[in-house]
Amino acid sequence: MQLANVIIKDEYVMDPMLAELVTPLALAMPSYTFTTRTMDDMQFSVHSYPNALKNRSVQVPEGKKFIRKLFVFCEDENLGGLSVDTKYSRSSVSDPVWEISCWRIENERGSRNTTKTTKVDVAKRAVKKHFLPRGLDEVLRNAEGVMYDCDRALGRLASDISRNTLFKNHSDVQEYVYYQLMGQEIPIQLKQRVETKMTSDRYKKAMSEFDLAASMDVRKDKLLVVRHKGGYLYKEDVVRGSALTEIVTMFQSFEELPSLWQDRLAVLQLMEDEEVVRDVGYRHNDTHFVILTNP
């Protein structure tokens, strides 16, 4: 039975034991896609077999192999994986064991993102419980690394100057500055070496990038904004009642954002990924931005 939301690469068919789990789930959850989409050659070779798992006499159609693992997607979000394998036991009869992998399992349990069961109903329940698209809070929490990426991008911009990579001989600059400060004449060869280097286009570019990184680095008003389902997500401090503040997740349409933020997001949307714009912010990719919230 070929279901519309079970999409498997041409050379493979679902192992009957995997189908026992996937078919009812695919029928119950039409917005989810069960697919081999993100699997690479290595994964295909690990999870494909010429025989069916339980009944080895079941032969695969000619030119095909049984696949024992699929990934589950909701829109473009990878929710986790489903696979079937054999339970190792002392008895000669080997039962199938279904394995469900999902980041929510690790969150709940604290370790390992997989759960295994020999009961297909338990496996179905686990999928229905854990395979949920990320909520607004979870989307933002998942994007927190973008702030570190922003810091790294600033670090990269400043690196030529801060790490002195453009001067192989660091003492040249020190000597030059010393003579200058003491009012002594700078030796001609030293003067040429330093001034040629410092007036080069490469040095000018490095200095302007350093200046940009420094100007961004001192700003305390950097805010992570994530474009999600037609709106924008960010965290905001909210005062409730007395002086108590609480950080809440905000989700607003573009028009509802402050106009300054709208302008800055519009600029960043035109930029390349991982680009920093002076007095505007940083674009991580087409959905993740760090903007400066104050004028």
């Binding site: 039975m1 519309a4 029928l27 039409p30 917005s31 419980k129 607004l136 809070d137 997740t249 989700f251």
Partner: protein, 294 residues
């Protein structure tokens, strides 16, 4: 619950441009047949008139294939009910915001429905033979449809229709009759529109009331048992309401946002373990319930 009035939800632009009507018809072979002989026997044995009772037999007794299709059809109909607003019997009002989401899932459901039907039809000759043993003396081979005609008994059809504009009567009749028809239609149209717009409010109200009741601890101070769906249903409702607010009712959007903010940061595990979390979420939910004129 008092009913919402139409006053604050009147659409600024024509409904026809913001929504369409969708008619979904799913039919399956029932495999039920009246057994006249047994009916007569039973009625006679009960000393009753011949139209007093009827005996129906289920031709697919003991087989899961057809039941799977029936269950799936029921699921599709129920899903259609959640994704559309009530308009007329068998016809739902589909906001344009929800069109692409609805159309995508409906296509998947249609394909899956026919995949189930194909699987059933492939097995049908074997099942038909097996039924001779299962039905015993009820079995009549001629009552089973041919494998060639069987697919025609399963249908998954849908039509998208424009919402008719008020008073669009193009019939040849007296002016007075036409005016009466237009007036009658307008009354019906307004009533339907009010019903359709009340529906999301009712769904939201039902959800909030249930959440509030579930989050209230029992008299002995113990928390009530609840599933993860206390949060997932609420977030699903927030998502759905963005697509069902056909008239862009600002009050409904405000209520939706309040719920979205209220549940942000709470997960079922916290709610189970923390009294404070339950109290906080309940107070936010009650706050929403008290803020609007339900």
């Amino acid at each position: 619950m008092t009913q919402n009035t139409i006053t604050h939800t009147a659409p600024a632009v024509s409904l026809a441009s913001m929504a369409m009507l969708v008619e979904l018809r799913i039919s399956t072979w029932t495999a039920r047949k009246r057994d006249n002989e047994t009916t007569m026997e039973v009625n006679t044995s009960k000393e009753a008139d011949q139209d007093s009772g009827s005996v129906y037999k289920y031709l697919m007794a003991g087989s899961e294939h057809l039941k799977k299709i029936e269950k799936y059809a029921a699921k599709c109909r129920a899903w259609n009910g959640t994704q559309t607003l009530p308009w007329m019997k068998g016809v739902g009002l589909l906001p344009m915001e929800n069109f692409f989401h609805y159309r995508g899932q409906l296509g998947t459901m249609e394909s899956n429905f026919y995949a189930l039907v194909d699987a059933f039809i492939a097995e049908y000759p074997k099942i038909k033979n097996d039924q001779a043993f299962r039905l015993g003396k009820y079995y009549r081979a001629e009552e089973f449809p041919d494998v060639e005609t069987l697919p025609r008994r399963f249908k998954f059809e849908y039509n998208f229709l424009p919402v008719p504009e008020k008073g669009d009567f193009r019939i040849r009749c007296e002016e007075q009759v036409r005016a009466d028809l237009a007036e009658q239609y307008e009354k019906m149209y307004n009533a339907k529109l009010a019903d359709a717009m009340r529906d999301p409010w009712e769904r939201l109200h039902a959800l909030l009331t249930k959440m509030s009741a579930t989050l209230t601890d029992r008299d002995d101070g113990e928390r009530k048992i609840f599933r993860d769906s206390i949060v997932t249903n609420a977030s699903g409702m927030c998502d759905l309401l963005t697509r069902l607010n056909v008239t862009k009712d600002p009050e409904l959007e405000k209520a939706r946002r309040m719920l979205e903010q209220a549940i942000a940061g709470f997960d079922p595990k916290d709610l189970r373990s923390s009294d404070g979390a339950r109290v906080e979420l309940k107070s936010s939910v009650d706050d929403i319930l008290s803020k609007f004129n339900w």
